[in-house]
């Protein structure tokens, strides 16, 4: 008798925001579903990414508020900060959510299989746990294995002095000085966080501007505001060498106009992520990959029958909300649900939770021009926003990019207080294919920071009222 093989309709490898959401959708549709997870349900997002960093950033915001309390008439001395308490809040938050995911799996009748999965053939998985293998078969296998920090040649993450986001999230104490290598969303957030907590931060970016995925106007304003807070920023600069020196590290920075050595206590390597495609059995099955990510079509299908990939491992943008959305689309498509729409990658909002926050959707001004659009651009400075002034956060900008002929909102770019909570307004407008007229005709509540969105639309039409 052959070894017992458990059979599912759908098996998901990885319990992150892509995988667990895909599994729930499959179970809702009545499919027999299992999730294989090696470590933590909830994945990086819940345990080591989006959520715990937001808990830390809230602490940074408190530090910032305390520093400027005099503006609101307060004064205090002997303010004490305990790093461990803030880290504890962050870990507790992550723990709560992870157990919430376990509950959701149970509630939806999804089997959670602990262990590491490997494809052992078409529609077949071997799960290893404690050196014991179990065999599974599923008509549909969805890979949602995520991504991990990318390393730089010559700069190895040692977990002690050179950190990845894992270590950066649970410091035992604050370093005096910190070098952040890479200024994408993760790098910018950690730079902002540690700077607000009083650490001397240096930010290095190999490209010509920080936040390189954002519209240059927004990125340049972010740089100005970062520098105003005392951050040192090097763009167009590489970190060539890192050597231990005393209790810290000596880093050699090299750029066109830069050739200097800086000594810091710690460094964070945040130069992007790479897909977790190793040891999955992809090579044996001939699964096609591209630049470290699994190649898929708009429904998440790989070139191998019954095999799908979603989320980070299926390619950038590596964002939790993109993964979740892809998971739902992939499952609904394979289950034959009517009216499934593929994810429009141009309509995924990008958010960076530094201070001030940065959020964007769609094309930058330059991308719109490159795509051949005749455009109209609108801007509104937060300095003219009553609400932003009242909360003493009046630094920022909202920028809109419209097609001049059709009025289509091609892109929107925001920097300012709580803009990550507001960008969905422009997202809905794009999904509904609103033109500038509908946005202009929408009543925005007063006083809110979001009025800046309205003014930026009016400005593109040459009708700005308050600037």
């Amino acid at each position: 008798m052959a070894k017992a093989i458990r059979q599912y309709d759908v098996m998901v490898v990885g319990g992150g925001p892509g995988g667990y959401v895909a599994a729930i959708r499959a179970a809702q549709l009545g499919l027999k579903t299992a999730v294989v997870e090696e470590k933590h349900l909830g994945g990086i997002c819940l345990n080591w990414g989006c959520i715990p960093t937001k808990a830390l950033l809230r602490g940074a915001e408190v530090a910032h508020t305390l520093r400027h309390m005099d503006r609101f008439g307060f004064s205090a001395d002997n303010i004490h900060f305990d790093t461990a308490e803030l880290v504890k809040h962050s870990r507790n938050t992550a723990g709560k959510l992870a157990s919430g995911v376990a509950y959701l799996m149970k509630k939806n009748g999804i089997d959670v299989i602990d262990g590491r999965a490997r494809l052992s053939g078409k529609c077949r998985l071997t799960v290893e746990r404690d050196k014991k293998n179990s065999e599974y078969r599923a008509d549909h296998i969805i890979l949602a294995t995520g991504a991990r920090p990318r390393e730089l040649p010559g700069v190895a993450i040692d977990g002690d002095r050179i950190w990845s986001y894992f270590e950066a999230m649970v410091p035992e104490s604050l370093p005096k000085s910190l070098l952040v290598i890479g200024s994408g969303a993760i790098g910018a957030e950690f730079a902002s966080l540690y700077n607000d907590l009083g650490v001397d931060v240096t930010l290095v970016e190999v490209l010509d501007r920080i936040l390189p995925a954002e519209d240059p106007e927004i990125a340049n304003l972010a740089r100005k505001l970062f520098e105003k807070r005392g951050m040192r920023i090097y763009t167009g600069t590489q970190v060539n060498e890192v050597n231990k020196s005393g209790n810290g590290i000596e880093c050699l920075l090299k750029g066109e106009d830069v050739n200097e050595s800086v000594t810091v206590d710690r460094a964070i390597l945040a130069v992007g992520v790479q897909g977790n495609i190793e040891n999955l059995g992809l090579e044996e099955l001939g699964v096609e990959t591209d630049k470290g990510f699994i190649k898929v079509d708009e429904w998440g299908r790989t070139n191998v029958v019954g095999l799908y990939a979603i989320g980070d491992v299926a390619g950038p943008p590596c964002l939790a909300h993109k993964a979740s959305h892809e998971g739902v689309v992939c499952v609904e498509k394979l289950a034959g649900v009517d009216g499934v729409h593929a994810l429009d990658k141009n309509n995924i909002p990008a958010c960076t939770y530094c201070r001030p926050q940065v959020a964007s959707i769609g094309m930058t001004e330059q991308e719109a021009k490159n795509a051949g659009h005749d455009i109209r651009v609108g801007r509104f400075q937060m300095a003219a926003s009553g609400k932003a002034l009242a909360i003493a956060e009046a630094e920022g900008l909202v920028k809109t990019v419209f097609d001049a002929a059709t009025g289509e909102l091609l892109g929107a770019h925001m920097i300012g207080p709580e803009v990550t909570e507001q960008i969905q307004g422009f997202g809905i407008a794009r999904t509904l294919e609103s033109t500038e007229a509908e946005l202009a005709g929408t009543v925005f509540p007063h006083p809110t920071v979001s009025e800046a969105m309205h003014e930026a639309v009016l400005d593109a039409m040459g009708r700005a009222i308050n600037q």
Binding site: G30, L31, D139, V305, L334, G336, V337
Partner: protein
């Protein structure tokens, strides 16, 4: 005048002539909008959820649970919130079923003329079919005068040969009506429930269609607070445990209180028979028995298969096939194609399609006295679900490659499990393959799924010792059992098909010939 619209029995598929209301999902007074689920309707094939295509307030649920109506028959009245009871009564009284006028998959029947009248214009006062003065639900379902079943309809010889819908036959049996007295107006002149109603009515009798079947059992439970209903403490506790509302119990005991016996009697009525207590304990050895009501789908499956066994003179042909060549082909295909993961069953579907092309007399359906012979092989495959059996169809399998068949089969199985199969994906089919090989069975017999005339039952492929050229040899062997309808396919024709099938399995190159 306010706008009023009819919600009518939808037509799900060509063969559907009437539908039975299984359950209302809305109640009177509810607001509905297009796409809302309003009722479960059972056709002779499936139970499906019906969505409304019209918006408004549900004014009257005309059809009662378990009532059988023809396609286009009035289920409910939906209209503007301010429509008066009189308007609704008027509408119902003047509503006429228009068989065939309702497009497939459309639950919205055109409203009778006066509902479309110009605003402010008085509707023409046609003579209502039933007294409309009262606004009681009786008006909602006009019934002829009392009188029972006239004798003229009860007499006659054996009526088992009369073509009738399953619902109509059940109704006739229940009321002692001989079907030879009824003229059928359904497809192929089958007798429908409506035909019986008309005939009874024309002969001066009456027949309560909606009381037919299980209506007693399915009466909706009261929801009102029953704390004021006089009851014995034991009856009260028992009712609570059984989720029975004391308002629904008939008081039979002394002192005008609901007693334990009254609660149990209600439970018995709801279950539609059996002894009280059966639900918990039965059996001579004290064995505990769980009573599970059959779902609509289960009942449908049961009825259809029973009908098939009764109507169709089944006979069976059994043959063994050597699987070695087919397994070698499967390995070769799977090793060289990453876009397909082909199973033995996928290959057998293709083999059947090939053999059906060679013996087209087996690629048939029987409709009344007409045999439909098909040009292409639409091969259905039996898929077991928790709720029952469903047979999605691979269309034109004779034209498709094995990889395409395999991927389509996987997609159909997933859709079947997710409940997203569309009607056209499981209706029709000119031949069925049922495979229980994964359970290690050697051989079994399958029941034909009418109007098809043949079904192949596939056992497990296994290594057996065979004799070849006088020498024992080990080969992968498969036992096939083919059930055939002798009314349509004679033994020799069936045997020719089986021979062709075994030949293509053993020489799979013929699939591409």
């Amino acid at each position: 005048m306010s706008e009023i619209k009819a919600l009518t029995v939808p037509k799900w598929g060509m063969a559907m002539e009437e539908g039975t209301l299984v359950n209302w999902l809305v109640k009177e007074g509810d607001e509905v909008s297009p796409g809302d689920e309003v009722a479960e309707i059972e056709s002779s094939k499936i139970v499906n959820v019906m969505e409304t295509h019209v918006a408004g307030t549900v004014h009257r649920l005309v059809a009662k649970t378990d009532e059988t109506l023809p396609v286009g028959g009035l289920l409910a009245v939906i209209g503007d919130k301010d429509a008066s009871r009189e308007d609704v009564d008027e509408f119902i009284a003047s509503f006429k079923t228009k068989p065939g006028a309702v497009p497939a998959r459309d639950s919205e029947a055109p409203a009778p003329k006066q509902a479309d009248a110009e605003p402010g214009q008085e509707p023409r006062r046609e003579k209502p079919a039933a007294a409309s003065a009262s606004s009681s639900p009786a008006v909602a379902q006009p019934q002829p005068a009392r009188g029972g079943i006239p004798e003229s309809l009860q007499s006659g010889g054996d009526d088992s040969g009369v073509a009738a819908t399953p619902h109509a036959r059940r109704l006739a049996e229940k009321h002692g009506i001989n079907l030879t007295n009824i003229k059928g107006s359904g497809r192929h002149d089958r007798v429908t429930v409506e035909d019986i109603e008309k005939a009874v009515s024309a002969a001066g009798g009456s027949i309560a269609v909606r009381r037919e079947g299980r209506d007693e059992i399915r009466q909706p439970a009261s929801l009102a607070d029953d704390s004021g209903v006089p009851a014995t403490p034991l009856a009260r506790r028992l009712a609570k445990q059984k989720s029975i509302n004391l308002h629904d119990c008939r008081v039979s005991g002394s002192r005008s209180r609901v007693s334990k016996a009254d609660v149990e009697a209600l439970e018995l009525r709801r279950r539609g028979g059996g002894r009280v207590g059966d639900a918990h304990v039965a059996g001579v050895d004290g064995q505990v028995v769980e009573e599970i009501p059959m779902s609509g789908l289960r009942q449908t499956i049961g009825r259809r298969l029973q009908q098939s066994k009764i109507d169709i003179p089944h006979y069976r042909l059994v043959a063994d096939a050597n699987l070695d060549a087919l397994l070698a082909l499967r390995r070769e295909l799977n090793d060289s194609l990453s876009e397909a993961n082909i199973s033995v069953n996928d290959l057998l579907i293709k083999c059947c399609a090939t053999a059906l092309m060679q013996v087209p007399d087996c690629n048939v359906q029987l409709h009344g006295d007409t045999i439909h012979r098909f040009r292409d092989a639409d091969v259905a495959m039996a898929v077991a679900l928790d709720a029952g059996l469903i047979t999605p169809v691979i269309r034109c399998a004779n034209h498709k490659g094995v990889a395409a068949i395999s991927n389509e089969a996987r997609e159909l199985v997933t859709k079947a499990r997710a409940g997203t199969l569309k009607q056209e994906e499981f209706e029709g089919g000119t031949f069925t393959v049922s495979n229980l090989g994964m359970f290690g069975l050697k051989q079994f017999d399958a029941i034909i799924n009418p109007p098809q005339c043949a079904i192949l039952a596939v056992g497990a492929g296994e290594e057996r010792v065979i004799v070849k050229d006088g020498e024992p040899e080990v080969a992968a062997m498969l036992t096939l059992s083919l059930s055939l309808d002798h009314r349509v396919i004679d033994g020799a024709v069936g045997a020719r098909f089986m021979q062709a099938l075994v030949r293509v399995i053993e020489h799979p190159g013929l699939m591409s010939a």
